[in-house]
């Protein structure tokens, strides 16, 4: 027979006002197995906890039920109290009499009845609770950072400076990310490359950072403290160990007309190239889709069509036969910092929920560009050497219209969220434009100005007051080509008038979206994501850089639109989480996980199919002579997160989820 103690909390007046706590305590006290039942003003207070501890010891209780607030609030508190009195903490459960009863009902009689029922469920359930002990798992104290933009760089440097090894994986041939494309940064207008490149070099030279550029995560196995990550090292066609970055190959490549991704298509590059001069690592890559030699090979031409780069390479580093290779790394934590891409207004969209802008000609008007393209025009290292010139005819635009919220905050285009950085960078663009084209006129169409941040609103004011940008509150309904100019039809909601502007160039502040392929990566990591593909944090307020997969952390714009300071702050936060995790050799885990009954498991592996974590493994049972008896399921304790889908799926109920076993639920249902 159980020896259960029941403790009903009044929570001051919070529960007591609508629930007759004394009657609840009395009524639950009458249940078989309950040997002690009291009510008290504040159970969570010190004297309240003392009450519980004393009762456990004096009455030799083997289970306690605290009828109080939500277990999300105080389960930890009461389990700790139970543990300090020598009771296994998992023999303590809570009945939620506040959030789920007193706060939502008015009729005292009905509320009291319901409170008794809720208490009864838990009393019956706890009769089947078993003492559980915390699980310890070893931690591999090395981290993987995915993405070499500013967030990934910051996270890698912080972790490495904290004394732990880091593997930094970047899918492009150089780290630096979008920040390396920017001209100046708000709100201080300091040169983006000037502040970024030293950090990139630091990454390359740090003894604790292993940089794997031009690489992608192929698969992730394992669990917190024990991930095995398979990384694809894409074939550069250049031997990294031999190349010294002299640049001769690039100089001699005959194909010089390829639109440069780094310059957002506004400049050109060669087929063997480094994306920009400050690239880290400074090792070229051959774009096989554009290279004459590889195109010849793909067409089946026997003759070697080109090979100039290999001829001029003094170190014999060019390797046309290089293949993708794979490395497997063991790490204990993963930081995802894959960043963003810009929404494109074209007709075909990556996701079904998105729509393009037919009213802006679906992006067919050449002098309608996006924010990143403008950055490249304004950048001293850009295709125009920092001169603002139109892509169509190279003329200097005398009037530029900037449109904010392109895609963003527009459910009709499928993007409801605010992209956060656009208000600021548009203000920056108007300033840069004003500095470079003194007689130019900048007009901005905006919905609201969102300039929350240190020095941000002041910055926008400067754009308006000192750089004389004309800010019009309203949307633009149509962009059309009218000879040499772009006809911008909009509406100024403050004057209540339609506006038509003939602009020389239009810059769209298009929405920030997660990188393509994010869903596939999220699935490899078992991290959930929203409809747009932004990765979900574990808690929007209290666990903003963690994910629901233990050991996987988020930094930067992969989680939601972020500016540089936010991304860097998040990156440092993930680093502190990772270092905190690595401060111990063994990791504690709640033991609420599934286990398989070897006797009755038939090995149909329905559980294996439904397990979201791949925690179910196959185990062969043999007799003493080594003959196979059967193959059954076994749960990897480190991987299982305790969702219990396996148990509901198992036809013979040969899996039990500790903490929510069938007997516990059955007992609760029986108490209806």
């Amino acid at each position: 027979m159980s020896r259960i103690g029941v403790f009903i909390c009044h929570c001051g007046e919070n529960i007591g006002r609508t629930v007759d706590c004394a009657r609840v305590a009395q009524s639950l006290g009458d249940l078989p197995g309950v040997v002690h039942s009291v009510d008290y003003k504040y159970m969570c207070s010190d004297p309240g906890q003392v009450l519980i501890k004393q009762a456990i010891q004096e009455k030799n209780l083997d289970g306690i039920v605290v009828g109080a607030c939500s277990p999300h609030m105080h389960e930890k508190t009461f389990r700790k109290a139970a543990a300090s009195a020598g009771l296994n903490p998992f023999l303590c459960e809570m009945a939620n009499l506040r959030e789920h009863c007193s706060w939502i009902h008015e009729d005292r009689e009905l509320a009291t009845e319901k409170a008794i029922a809720l208490g009864r469920f838990i009393v019956e359930k706890i009769k089947y609770n078993r003492p559980l002990s915390t699980i310890y798992i070893p931690v591999e104290r090395r981290a993987l950072v995915i993405g070499g933009g500013i967030a990934g760089i910051q996270a890698a440097l912080d972790i490495a400076d904290g004394g732990r090894d880091v593997i930094l994986v970047e899918k492009e041939s150089s780290i630096g990310g979008h920040m390396s494309q920017l001209s100046e940064t708000f709100p201080t207008l300091d040169c983006s490359q000037c502040i970024l490149t030293p950090r990139m070099v630091e990454v390359a030279q740090h003894p604790r950072i292993k940089l794997l550029a031009y690489s992608e995560v192929e698969s992730v196995d394992g669990y917190i403290g024990n991930f095995q990550v398979k990384i694809r090292r894409k074939a550069r066609s250049v031997d990294e160990t031999k190349c010294n970055g002299c640049g001769e190959c690039q100089k001699n490549c005959p194909n010089k007309k390829i639109p440069s991704e780094f310059d957002q298509g506004l400049g050109t590059r060669t087929a063997i190239y480094v994306p920009f001069p400050q690239a880290v690592p400074n090792i070229p890559v051959i774009d096989r889709a554009s290279c004459a030699l590889f195109r010849g090979r793909a067409k089946g031409v026997k003759k070697v069509v080109c090979g100039k780069c290999a001829e001029v390479c003094g170190r014999n580093a060019v390797d046309f036969d290089q293949q993708d290779s794979f490395v497997t790394e063991k790490v204990g934590a993963i930081v995802v910092a894959t960043g963003y891409q810009l929404y494109s207004i074209g007709k075909s969209q990556e996701l079904d929920i998105l729509r393009g802008y037919g009213e802006y000609g679906y992006g067919t008007i050449p002098d309608v560009i996006d924010g990143l393209q403008f950055e490249r025009l304004a950048s001293a290292s850009g295709p125009t050497g920092g001169k603002i010139l139109r892509p169509s005819d190279g003329k200097e635009p005398k009037k530029i219209v900037f449109l904010q919220c392109i895609g963003s905050r527009d459910p009709a285009k499928g993007i409801e969220y605010c992209s956060k950085i656009c208000c600021m960078y548009v203000a920056k663009h108007t300033m840069l434009y004003h500095h470079k084209v003194h007689d130019g006129k900048a007009v901005v169409f905006y919905m609201d100005i969102r300039a929350g941040g240190k020095g941000y609103d002041e910055f926008v004011r400067r754009a308006i007051e000192e750089s004389h940008a004309l800010y019009l509150r309203g949307r633009v309904s149509r962009l059309s080509r009218d000879g040499d100019v772009i006809r911008v039809q909009g509406f100024d909601t403050l004057s209540g008038e339609p506006v038509v502007i003939n602009a020389d160039m239009v810059v769209l502040a298009t929405a920030m979206r997660p990188q393509p392929g994010i869903a596939a990566l999220a699935q490899k990591l078992s991290v959930s994501y929203d409809q747009h593909g932004f990765l979900n944090e574990a808690h929007p307020k209290l666990r903003p850089v963690e994910t629901n997969t233990a050991g996987v952390f988020l930094a930067g714009a992969c989680q939601s639109p972020r500016d540089i300071p936010d991304s860097v702050a998040m990156a440092s936060a993930t680093a502190s989480k990772v270092l905190g995790l690595f401060s111990k050799e063994l990791l504690e885990r709640e033991p609420l996980i599934a286990r398989v009954d070897r006797m009755t498991c038939t090995g149909c592996f329905h559980c294996e199919r439904v397990c979201p974590y791949g925690a179910v493994e196959r185990k062969t049972l043999t007799d003493s002579k080594g003959r196979i008896i059967k193959v059954i399921a076994e749960v990897n304790q480190g991987v299982c997160q305790g969702c219990g889908t396996c148990q509901a799926t198992c036809p013979s109920k040969s899996v039990e989820l500790d903490g929510f076993t069938d007997e516990q639920i059955y007992a609760a249902v029986n108490a209806i």
């Binding site: 006797m599 009755t600 038939t602 149909c604 592996f605 199919r609 193959v631 013979s652 109920k653 007992a667």
Partner: protein, 290 residues
């Protein structure tokens, strides 16, 4: 029939298998037969009275059969789906079996039924069956068969029941299921019911009450049908075996239709084809969820 016997003989003589599991005549029609000697192969028969699903003998619950070693089994298309199911669910290895597929144009309900197959006595499940021969088989014997024709219409019966109001349906099923004595013949004969310890026999806790009264019977039969969702091969054995004559096939057929209409899934004899329960699509219909 000679083709079948010759093949069986050859398999035994070439030591490809240790035994043949097939059918033979007895005074009440056809019955399962285990043949281990080549000389006995002439006992093997197949026609429309061979209703039993021999895949049931392949279930790992029958350890004594596993001891025979490599087996050849005579299978109809529906039986092949059960073999595929057992392979899919890791209860069998394909390489441990030689499958002798027989072309089938429908069977009667009971092995002792008439020697002639006609539209009256054909098993309702065979009406509308589209598979004449099992694709999973290693060998295929028998003459080409035409699609079975019959008067029975299970879909019509289902829609009659669906037309009743909920209360009428509940009383109908309560009354039908109240006949159940919980002999579990339906379970024992089912090739896909291979759990070592059935949920109905689990006592801690006893989700399904074990005494034969309406309440427990209701839980048992609904649960049984659910466990067969996307897995039932429609061999009709449960209904044939039921001594109380409960139309269990209707429940299975209903579930099969639900799965077909919601997930476009028809049970298949391809072991690599994923079953719908245990997988999901992000855009599965969820009209019933508020």
């Amino acid at each position: 029939m000679q083709e079948l016997r010759d093949l069986a003989k050859k398999l035994l003589l070439d030591k490809q298998v240790n035994a043949i599991l097939g059918y033979e005549w007895d005074r009440r029609g056809a019955r399962p037969a285990f043949i281990t000697e080549a000389g006995d192969c002439d006992r093997l028969v197949f026609d429309h009275r061979c209703v039993q699903n021999l895949a049931a003998y392949l279930s790992p619950r029958r350890a004594n059969i596993a001891q025979l070693g490599r087996l050849a089994v005579v299978i109809k298309a529906c039986d092949a789906r059960a073999v595929a199911g057992l392979i899919r669910e890791n209860q069998l290895k394909r390489e441990d079996l030689v499958l002798i597929g027989v072309r089938c144009g429908g069977v009667v309900v009971n092995p002792s039924d008439s020697e002639q197959l006609n539209a009256e006595n054909i098993a309702p499940r065979c009406v509308g069956c589209e598979q004449r021969e099992p694709t999973l088989a290693d060998h295929l014997v028998g003459e080409t068969q035409s699609a079975p024709v019959g008067k029975a219409n299970r879909d019509l019966r289902l829609s009659e029941i669906e037309k009743l109001n909920p209360e009428e349906r509940l009383s109908l099923w309560t009354s039908l299921l109240s006949q159940c004595t919980r002999c579990y013949a339906c379970r024992q004969v089912c090739p896909m019911c291979f759990c070592e310890r059935c949920i109905a026999d689990k006592t801690q806790p006893a989700w399904i009450e074990s005494s034969p009264h309406s309440r427990g019977n209701f839980s048992w039969h609904l649960t049984r049908a659910l466990h067969l969702a996307g897995r039932c091969v429609d061999c009709g054995e449960c209904e044939r075996a039921c001594p109380a004559g409960i139309p269990l096939g209707l429940l299975n057929h209903k579930v099969a239709r639900i799965v077909a209409s919601r997930y476009g899934y028809a049970v298949s004899d391809d072991p690599s084809r994923e079953t719908p329960i245990g997988s999901y699509r992000l855009d599965d219909e969820q009209e019933f969820i508020a």
